[in-house]
Symmetry: C2
Subunit: 199 residues, 2 copies
């Protein structure tokens, strides 16, 4: 039963807190707004706020689970025998476009301006890279070492991070993924050849 009154109220509270926080942060600046301000404006207790969000920074990256799931879905949910890297490239391209859109600009300006938020995002990315690595390692079609899987996962997350900051994000994604593709190709367990190399 997804629609109990309890769960709806809980979700509403969570959303109200997140919305209020983002509004206040954008209005007055992240550092200028205290947790107590957010709680008061959202009309909840500070402890309630922290039962919904693990930290002040988490208020900003409210939907980071979506990001993570989209990435792992890209790996686990792609068509059989569909090559991995182009699929990831498309997904990263979409995600980069999403957060370089004009509507998202004020939020990212705020994030870039706050060391605490930047640091938080970095450690978020590492989490995402880990789950992406796990998804890649679990695919039987892709026989690579654990190290190779973790490496490629990091590279893909790097691509997202670097492209987001690049002057021309689209071109940057293309360029970085050309490099990733090459790295992935040489990561075959036994030599550089794909499958059989016979005459």
């Amino acid at each position: 039963m997804p629609t109990g009154r309890r769960e709806r109220k809980k979700a509403a509270t969570r959303q109200k807190i997140a919305d209020t926080a983002l509004r206040l942060f954008l209005e007055r600046g992240y550092d200028a707004v205290g947790i107590r301000d957010v709680a008061a404006e959202a009309d909840v207790a500070v402890t309630t706020l922290f039962s919904h969000f693990a930290s002040k920074e988490a208020l900003v990256f409210e939907q980071d689970d979506d990001f993570e799931q989209r990435l792992t879905q890209t790996v686990t949910g792609r068509a059989p025998h569909e090559p991995l890297i182009p699929a990831l490239r498309r997904e990263i391209q979409a995600l980069v476009r999403h957060c370089t859109a004009d509507s998202a600009a004020p939020i990212w300006r705020m994030i870039d301006a706050s060391p605490a938020l930047r640091e938080y995002e970095e450690s978020m990315r590492l989490r995402h890279a880990e789950s992406l690595a796990t998804a890649i390692a679990a695919d039987p079609d892709l026989s690579r070492t654990t190290t190779a899987c973790r490496t490629i996962a990091r590279f893909v997350i790097d691509a997202y991070s670097l492209a987001r900051e690049a002057a021309d994000p689209d071109t940057a994604v293309d360029e970085i993924f050309r490099m990733i593709e090459a790295a992935w190709e040489v990561a075959h367990p036994s030599g550089n050849s794909v499958g059989t190399a016979g005459p």
Copy 2:
């Protein structure tokens, strides 16, 4: 005059704080030791401690500047026309060995056990990647785009981070650097060929 009494005393104070902090952290655990404990044991005021170190975490990564300079030195100080990637591979290999040595094990166990320290190290790595990227971009022998330089720099830092955690660090460095080499090769500005492509 590099050896004024003032500078010596300042350096001594700094060192005493760092040594005391590391000792206490290892004795009682990072979270169990407060800043006020460290300051008291080192016989300095809390404000003095914070005039030498920007944060509690910085007490642990005291010599992170060395790390950064060794990396950039590897790029800027290498023999003329010496290929970049193998030079970086050697340096990363050495750094990984250094911090997977038995003597460093307790420190890294402490770091791995503390989310705050892990997060701090991550953002440190990003700083290192940035300065490495700058060094690479500044080398006239390596004609690559800014994006390619930043990308390779990230990859190299990833190699350090991943190899440090790998079961067999030496093998991991080799494996990851094979991937990095391939990525670097395809990052030439005009196509995949090195220098001149025959008629």
